[in-house]
């Protein structure tokens, strides 16, 4: 069932979703686009390439309160903070970002102790995937195609959308999507030629090349293992790195956090806040020892985690090629170039 609406009727669709729950959609802000809970249906803006922060913010917000407590009171009197979970519609997520949820699920729900916050939000959310505009030239920072993700992959979405000029097509991909879409007023059925356009578009999504290489996860993991101790290589690629947290904060598959207590006038809240392995104090131990004081050690950790350890431990590469880290890096470090060089470095070494 392929439904459609027009871009100028988007507010109506938004309003409709807002009645059923929380709508989270791209909003244009001073610095660029970001996913925000919509308060005014007119805010929803689909004329965007991608957001600054990835949509992981919806399931894993930068700040999450766990416990409220009163200093000087027994710990048993501390009160857990129950997140307010409402049915949520995550609207306009690019296919690579949709893919990232699957990778994050590994950490938040499929291994170790499941994270209730992530799981509850995930369960309550219906995802509206949204194809990239393949008529545009590929963004030089992106490489999702290289990692096997198409520009119009509906996998992982409940509803998948694509835009043709001022028409927005919506197709239910999952049963939850089917249910929802059937009950949405204001959508019309697409014509057969439009259905064909839609199917073709999705099929051709894989031809939309972002970078030239195709990657074999196993092979890469191996390469990185081999050069892990090649300090020269890591120093060279990290010479420009500033050690800021941009790449990890914008990354859809970075999930590290810190636990902070914030107290004022004796009333406190224990919360988790995103942390970044690029920060010097990330690995600072209480003793004062820090195993990763050098920039190269931190950059190595970040890249090896995504392209080596993660593969070994969980299977997939922990990267979806959305290109955010490259796009927002203040010194234009490109993670994928480093991957390419890593392969070469290995090769050089062998010679």
């Amino acid at each position: 069932m392929l439904k459609k609406t027009t871009i100028d009727k988007l507010p109506e669709l938004a309003a409709c979703l807002m009645e059923k729950g929380t709508l989270v959609a791209p909003v244009k802000e001073a610095g660029g686009f970001n996913f925000r809970a919509i308060t005014d249906a007119a805010q929803v803006d689909l004329i965007f390439h991608n957001t600054i922060l990835s949509p992981k913010t919806v399931f894993f917000p930068q700040t999450e309160d766990f416990v409220r407590y009163s200093v000087y009171q027994p710990i048993l009197e501390a009160k857990p903070v129950e997140p307010e979970i409402r049915p949520t519609f995550l609207f306009g997520v690019r296919p690579c970002d949709v893919k990232s949820f699957e990778i994050m699920d590994i950490h938040f729900t499929r291994t170790g102790v499941p994270d209730p916050y992530w799981r509850k939000r995930r369960d309550a959310t219906i995802i509206f995937g949204f194809a990239f505009d393949t008529s545009e030239e590929a963004d030089p920072a992106e490489f999702y195609h290289t990692l096997g993700i198409g520009a119009a992959d509906p996998d992982g979405s409940d509803v998948f959308m694509l835009r043709r000029d001022d028409v927005l097509f919506l197709k239910a991909v999952s049963p939850r999507g089917e249910n929802l879409l059937g009950g949405l007023a204001g959508l019309t059925d697409a014509a057969p030629d439009e259905r064909k356009y839609f199917d073709d578009y999705i099929a051709q999504g894989h031809d939309y090349k972002t970078r030239y290489t195709c990657v074999d996860a196993e092979a890469i993991a191996k390469e990185f293992e081999a050069i892990f101790h090649n300090t020269d290589f890591w120093t060279k690629v990290s010479n420009a790195c500033l050690s800021c947290g941009i790449c990890t904060f914008v990354c859809p598959t970075c999930y590290c956090f810190d636990i902070c207590d914030e107290t004022q006038f004796g009333q406190g809240v224990r919360r988790r806040v995103w942390d970044a392995c690029m920060f010097t104090d990330f690995t600072l131990e209480a003793s004062g020892h820090n195993p990763r004081t050098q920039v190269y050690q931190r950059l190595r950790q970040k890249i090896c985690h995504k392209y080596s350890f993660h593969i070994r431990k969980y299977g997939p590469i922990s990267c979806v090629g959305c290109g955010r880290c490259t796009r927002y890096c203040p010194v234009n470090i490109d993670i994928f170039s480093i991957v390419e060089q890593a392969v070469q470095a290995k090769w050089y070494k062998r010679m």
Binding site: E29, A30, G31, G32, I52, L53, Q62, T63, P140, A141, K236, N239, A240, L242, S243, C244, G245, I246, F249, V250, D258, C260, E262, R271, V273, A276, F279, T280, D281, L284, V295, T326, Y328, P330, V331, N332, I333, D334, F336, S337
Partner: protein
Amino acid sequence: MAISFEQIEQHLKTEALKLLESGKVILVLAYGRGYDANHPMPYVAKHPSDVDNIVFNEYCTANLARYLTRYPRRTKIAIAVKAADSRAVVQLIQEDKVCREDLVVLGIPVYGMKNFKTGEVIDSKTTGGLYNPVLYDILLGEEVHGQPVSSPYDVLAAYEAMDKEERWAFWQRELGRCIRCYACRKACPMCYCDPCFIDQNKPKWGEKSPESPGNLMYHLTRFHHLAGRCIDCGECSRACPVDIPLYLFHKKVAKDCEEMFGQAAGMSIGDKPVLVNFRVDDSDKILE
């Protein structure tokens, strides 16, 4: 006079090669190719063979002085600097973070540099009204003359004209967006503390979560720490992934410092940073 970026690049390569071959320096801080031509990267040339990788174009905005403090004292370094960057070098020398005699400063007189994210020309915003380096050993090209010279503080006028409520609303909006990635401090050549005050647990100066109070504390204190030291390169604002115009606030503080203490940051290696200095006849009026 138009700037020939190719010529500068050529100059840079020639001098870098000479310096590395002669062993006068062990590394050259310059620019190299990034993932495409519009996205050059800071580059460290250590061997004569690295020199080929050096590039220079209008997107080479990064202030390389930021990397100076990364190397141990007494490391012989050659550094390519534009006008504002050279002030950072001067300021670092003032603060004893680097030694003048350890540096070979390759000055680049240039204008028309562009923000690689937006393509916008940055001259009017954040070069401190300068086109020529204030300190160099070798000048890579002719000094720039005839470019419009504007006061570095002109862009402030609109913000100074706001009343306090508007200013508060403006900064609430801007700083409220901060995600605390700390790219601003990491890109800043003068922010070399590790740990930064905001990373401290004892004392805990401000909240670490990216909400208004913590953001306000972090940024206001950082503005204070950079008072009289900010050399207006604008790297903080360009590094910011959410486009907070931090340079405005820094500029305002720099302007106030210059008015109150009669000294701009990073103009002369003989100066003492204004906030670790005083004059007996400083006027009490500055407190009004």
